[in-house]
Symmetry: C2
Subunit: 298 residues, 2 copies
């Protein structure tokens, strides 16, 4: 199975307790594509500006990533500047420059139409809806979202959820979306909003995967040194959907295993800044950590 | 194996989002003894006042609990009045009357000396130390503690930890004890303080069991309706040590399984006020929920 990945491609300036980096490669579609391409072919949809470096294009080309849907526009690439304090779960944003991303209007090239999985990264739900209109039908539609869209564009988001097969959502966002306080009841409410499956992400406390018949509680991998948490959620989604794509199955047991692959891939990703760790990860490393992880959670 | 359980026996007045109860049976040794007696013989050490009801004595006697170490003193039984808001992880204390518990000086009856496991409930570490002096040697010493003792009686606590085989500790308390922010590193630091094993409890996020060679991440049972969280920690310890006692083994795989039994027992306990649910629980119910739990975490 191929995956269409729609989202931001960006440059980030980051500060964490382990150091600083200026204008390094970032964005939800970037993390997702590099991560998922370890498992499956990825068709990227995004937009970059004139400042986008050839070396970064080459990185994406060198992976199993199609770039026909990556549009180049006059102007600058989306830029985000942020910082993580001791609480690595929350970023403090110092600057956001949407640049060419402000006019992002995702168009799906014909060559992408044979994809079976559509990953809608964390962008405006109206744009997610446009992608669903173009290519959602009969495909496995996976959606990510955030507080901003839940608060500001709730109606658009609810429309997207009706067409969504699997929602990735942080625990706090899930509670905000449903107005529910108990996490399991939160999951049940989301399943009534459209998605057949929901994966509630709890950061260092692991994830919960639910459909109407099943619940899976999956612990986090015990990471001792988080160098840069940027991209952890998108890399989790990459491991998850990469595993689903390589097996070609969409049932609950496959998705439960996919949570573990996503957990392990993101636990590796956060060990270095930006996509540095993702660049060098091998399938052997993933499998070796998966084995270690299975011992810890078995 | 028999277990000696040292801790408070109390009356609690409770308010939770699900209702109120006046002067119901409580206390760490009470929850622990009733819970663990489902699996093994328990030798209780505690103190009650003249107001302690015969029906409550009868309840303990009706279980597999020896009461030779339960001292009756002139005065009133330890009383606690508290409330839980929407955040069920934190109790607001309205009143604490130590009463006869203020002079509690645990003495171990000779008939308890054949016990192999010593559970030191959350009491002043100097008292925990006295119990260790009397019966700790060569036995499996298990200790619970809290913020108050970490802040106010740190030296006493550090002495106790040197003699402790297994420490039960909440995540926040563990971080307070070690000054460490990462949970896994917190666990490693605790293992340097004396205990051969530590179980870090994360409430609705599950538990982490660690010794120097192993880590086990164990999810919580997904409870949808927490009626009264009082006693959850002691009931967790009861299921844990009850399982260890019935198997007669102290190795890591047994303790990892014990975390699951503790998780399941406490998930049942919090479904009703005080010890109401513990009174009626059968081994069949425990095993049935364990089976459900294994599906959720497998």
């Amino acid at each position: 199975m191929s995956i269409v990945a729609v989202g931001s491609v960006a440059y980030d300036s980051l500060k964490t307790p382990y150091g600083e980096r200026e204008r390094v490669l970032g964005g939800s579609a970037t993390y997702f594509s590099i991560g998922a391409s370890l498992f499956s072919h990825v068709n990227l949809v995004g937009v970059v500006g004139e400042d986008f470096e050839d070396t970064d294009l080459d990185l994406l080309k060198s992976r199993n990533v199609s770039l026909e849907g990556l549009v180049h526009r006059p102007g600058k690439t989306f830029f985000w500047k942020g910082e993580y304090g001791e609480n690595l779960n929350e970023a403090i944003t110092h600057d956001t420059q949407l640049n060419v991303f402000a006019e992002f209007n995702p168009e799906i090239p014909n060559s992408y139409l044979d994809s079976s999985i559509i990953f809608l990264g964390n962008i405006h739900p109206a744009l997610q809806g446009k992608v669903i209109d173009q290519i959602g039908k009969g495909r496995f539609v996976v959606c990510d979202t955030m507080n901003l869209w839940i608060n500001e564009t709730r109606d658009d988001l609810l429309k997207v959820l009706k067409e969504t097969n699997l929602l990735f959502v942080n625990e706090g966002e899930a509670k905000l979306l449903t107005g529910e306080k108990n996490t399991i009841r939160t999951g049940r409410k989301i399943l009534e909003m459209g998605p057949q499956m929901v994966c509630i992400k709890r950061g260092e406390f692991g994830s919960i995967l639910m459909n109407k018949e099943n619940i899976a509680m999956v612990p986090a991998f015990p990471v001792e040194k988080v160098v840069d948490p940027t991209g952890a959620g998108d890399t989790f989604a990459a491991g998850f959907l990469g595993h689903v794509a390589r097996t070609g199955k969409l049932d609950f047991p496959t998705c439960r295993e996919a949570v573990k692959v996503g957990t392990v891939l993101s636990s590796l990703e956060i060990e270095d800044f930006s996509v540095e760790r993702l660049k060098t990860i091998t399938m052997e490393e993933i499998n070796s950590r998966l084995e270690e992880y299975r011992k810890i959670i078995s």
